[in-house]
Symmetry: C3
Subunit: 408 residues, 3 copies
């Protein structure tokens, strides 16, 4: 890590300067940047704290990867837009850097609990580098629309992570793991992540939209898509679960699928009605995915997707890409080209699968400190963990309560 | 639920379009909208997680009701302001939709733990519909001032909820319920809600104020009222409790009463001093209400008010309405009319009590899945709840620790 | 407390009016003010919830001190800038009032768990009063640069608190205290504080910068410094801990040192590279401080620094002051004067140590309800605490589970 940061700082010393161009100086960008920041650090970080013994890693490694990723993203994205040989750092660029880290945090969800911090830093470097190539291709070469990044962030991040998870398949976890589950309070911590993601998603999808009505449209479409998505996620969760009960996994995740799916056409003239329809469908397929598809992926395809990113980011991301193709074909975006939209989706999926597979192979090398099966989903392999309550309980059962407390 | 959302989407298809009018395009509104969003989804949601076994429902059903309520609120409020037969969706309108859901979430607090999701969705539909009528009456017909909505949101929401709670009175809970209480960590989760509500209340009270100095005045008055309120809430809590201790229930709730009470005159020229005085009084009556009034309401009037919304929203809301009458009478608001202010308060209370009673009767019909007394305040009737720690403990005491853990 | 608030309100009645001057009316200030608010109330409040039995006090007393402190800060800072004998309340002034409370909350960290609410209110009054004198001296007399307040808030607050802690030295806690530690979930609550502080620090450091490019520079420098700091904090934590594990104490705190240390020169033209270098160094010295210096301060100098504010605010604050001297000497700030920068640092440290020592002596008077050693770090001395799970467990072990539950 120290070497990595020192190299990064040297690269900044060589390339990075402030951007004194007038164009990036809008107040709007600045508070939107803070909203996106909250999604990256609180949203993704706490969303993954649902695991009963992996909260330190979820929020802590999330912080590590994001803090490194945003530096790396500034560099790898900046390389494509050098100005006098320099990367000019602006609010616009740091929003884009935050975006690039989102892909890593999505992939992190697929391999959560089964990878070491070093493995994940390697994934960060490679995934963001490849992201920057695909992003340049989609935005500058294909000139496709993807304002809320259904394709280049969500679908890309999900399938990249799933490809990594496939390569790192662990037969030893085929029958589950005692720590691969939640407890009551860990589910509440996760809801902090869910709700902050849900609330600030309109900022995410509108962050790089053209200011004015376009941006406003992106805010309203995202707001309505998410609202409709909540209803369908609750309805389907209750339909597929035993005795009509709700499942926290669905509520924590599928309620957000509407934000993913409306991303590509968030700034298009699809109408409030169109946005809600997209959200409704996203909530349905996401919940059904958690219930029926995730177990099949694990048992039949060897893809152990810890957080179910396929359901929250993968399928809704593809849905978003398809919705974008249709919307552009229907003329909902001035200057849009449906073929280019389709090419952007294909490109994002291709880079994700190939890039993820190669990255997975590198991560599989035996010297990165990958945890053994029995230590998966357990903070204590990488963190000093305070003596646990359950230990207390055990000793309680053995009758030596007071002694044990004194040692805590 | 699916039918409900589909009907809503159809209504949006018929009525809703984007608002391309210039007037609503201010950046200020957009970040204020996010602040209000945080209050609705994190603030109200986590404030109610204080119950030891009802956190999933508190934050989860809060999300469901708010997500549906904001769609419904857009429709029912929009109906009054059709433009070419259409509801033009703008940031201003979605702030107002968020506001309309606040009434429901306040009422939710009164019946928390004792109602089913279906009952609550029915309450959402009816309460927001009636709110829209009263809001139209107060704002457009009476032309009363209520910028921070002490009357039309807080007093209305509280007395609506209390009327519902009265109708749904449960004699079986007269002597309390083992789950109607907090544990250490649930009280900390609730403080997340309290603090976010406290911090963003200035945005709430200034969200629909005229931009410029009026809005600024609303921010400053709210800020000062809340600050003074904290001091009086702590002082009174310590005075009335055993050995001068503080009570978390008071701190979680009464510290916010200043935001409620200053609402109506937030944008008036009441002076920093006036705002602080209102906050001081609000903190006192709210804390005393929790200590002395809530038990009397429950035992003598059959009003079982789970979260004490009468103390946080009811009495402070009326105080706000009265302060508004006085302030307008003293000429603190240009063009204000004290009689109209009084009429607005009476109207809000009237609609709340009558509307709440009727809604309660509908909710009391026996086919909405109301939980039996023994399952009140317990997530496990509506949620898949992870095997609980205490269960583990029980089995621990029985000596079969390892077996139990493997099953989790 | 009631008397205190009443006196404060009277002072406001005499002195405070709204500011109708045009100059303070920018939207930027308003959302930045909310960001700073989040840091003060959520950030500091939850950062201190890491203690297993002191969460109510951490977040609750934090709210009390901040709510009072901001009123007091408005008065004591306003006194220096009277206009027609009045304090004109503006967003700019309430940001500064929030800032003044930050010094108290930093000092609170040094004495956390060992002081009564009354002692802390006394500290609030004195510390903010002295802060206002030093701030006036630094900003108006010396005309030194300290936009992000490394010197006048962080170094001042830390050394003030350490001086208080020295005076209040408790020999009885020399060998630790069973409650002076975390449990798993309390560490997660603390991470809420850490992450919100981390995210909104760019707003803190840029809040009072001149609008435009200066402010933008402060945002970007802080963002990059914090990002680099995370990497060095993780790297050093892993290097110094047993088996390369990470320590939550380091992650919760040292990851923020970059925000402190870049404060003074946040708005200077130090380049992205310079900002990152400052962050890198701050993360290193902060982590090393937690590991090696804090135990020495406690055992050799009698300074029991509960939260390690010396490592998060003290040393990084001095580093920030020194970096400012160097940057000004190198001409990175137009009109800067290195000697004045040095004088500002010396002044801040001097006021802190002398002011803290005197304040500590006053706080040591025996009638402020200071907790006895055995009740330190325990909410139950000042709060009604819900019957604890561990109690349940104890009774569980004794076999009377059901009876105990019914009483809860």
């Amino acid at each position: 890590m120290p070497a990595l940061e020192i190299i990064t700082i040297i690269l900044f010393a060589v390339f990075a300067v402030y951007d004194y161009g007038k164009s990036h100086l809008t107040e709007k960008r600045e508070y939107v940047f803070q909203d996106v920041h909250v999604m990256i650090f609180i949203g993704f970080g706490f969303l993954m704290t649902f695991l009963k013994r992996y909260g330190f890693s979820s929020v802590g490694i999330n912080l590590l990867l994001a803090a490194f990723g945003l530096q790396w993203g500034l560099l790898t994205q900046g390389i494509w837009h050098l100005d006098d040989g320099k990367i000019k750092v602006s609010i616009f660029k740091i929003i884009n850097a935050d975006f690039s880290t989102a892909t890593v945090l999505i992939s992190f969800g697929a391999v959560l609990g089964k990878t070491s911090p070093v493995q994940l830093l390697i994934m960060t470097i490679l995934e963001i580098t490849i992201f920057s190539i695909n992003e340049h291709l989609v935005a500058t070469v294909l000139e496709a629309n993807d304002v809320g990044a259904s394709m280049i962030i969500h679908a890309y991040g999900a399938y990249f992570g799933l490809a990594v998870a496939r390569v790192l398949y662990r037969p030893g976890l085929r029958n589950g793991h005692e720590n691969d589950g939640s407890v009551y309070h860990s589910d509440l911590f996760a809801m902090i992540g869910t709700v902050f993601l849900w609330m600030f998603w309109p900022s995410f999808n509108s962050a790089i939209a053209d200011p004015g009505f376009t941006q406003l449209t992106a805010v309203i479409n995202t707001y309505l898509s998410l609202a409709a998505c909540v209803l369908s996620a609750y309805a389907i969760s209750s339909l597929v679960e035993h005795k009509g009960k709700l499942d926290m996994v669905h509520i924590q995740n599928a309620t957000l699928a509407g934000g993913v799916a409306v991303g590509t056409c968030a700034d298009m003239n699809i109408g409030p009605f169109g946005a809600m329809l997209i959200g409704l469908v996203a909530g349905i397929i996401s919940t059904l995915g958690f219930k029926y598809l995730t177990p099949i992926l694990a048992s039949n395809l060897g893809i152990q997707d810890t957080c179910g990113v396929h359901n929250l980011h993968g399928m809704p991301g593809i849905l978003g890409g398809l919705a974008g193709i249709v919307a552009v074909a229907l003329g909902k975006k001035e200057g849009g080209n449906a073929a280019m939209q389709a090419a952007a989706l294909a490109s994002s999926l291709g880079f994700a699968l190939v890039g993820g597979a190669i990255t997975g192979l590198i991560m599989k090398l035996p010297f990165w400190g990958q945890p053994p099966d029995q230590n998966c989903f357990d903070d204590s392999i990488y963190w000093e963990v305070p003596e646990e309550e359950e230990e207390n309980e055990e000793s309680l059962a053995h009758g030596d309560h007071s002694k044990n407390k004194a040692e805590v």
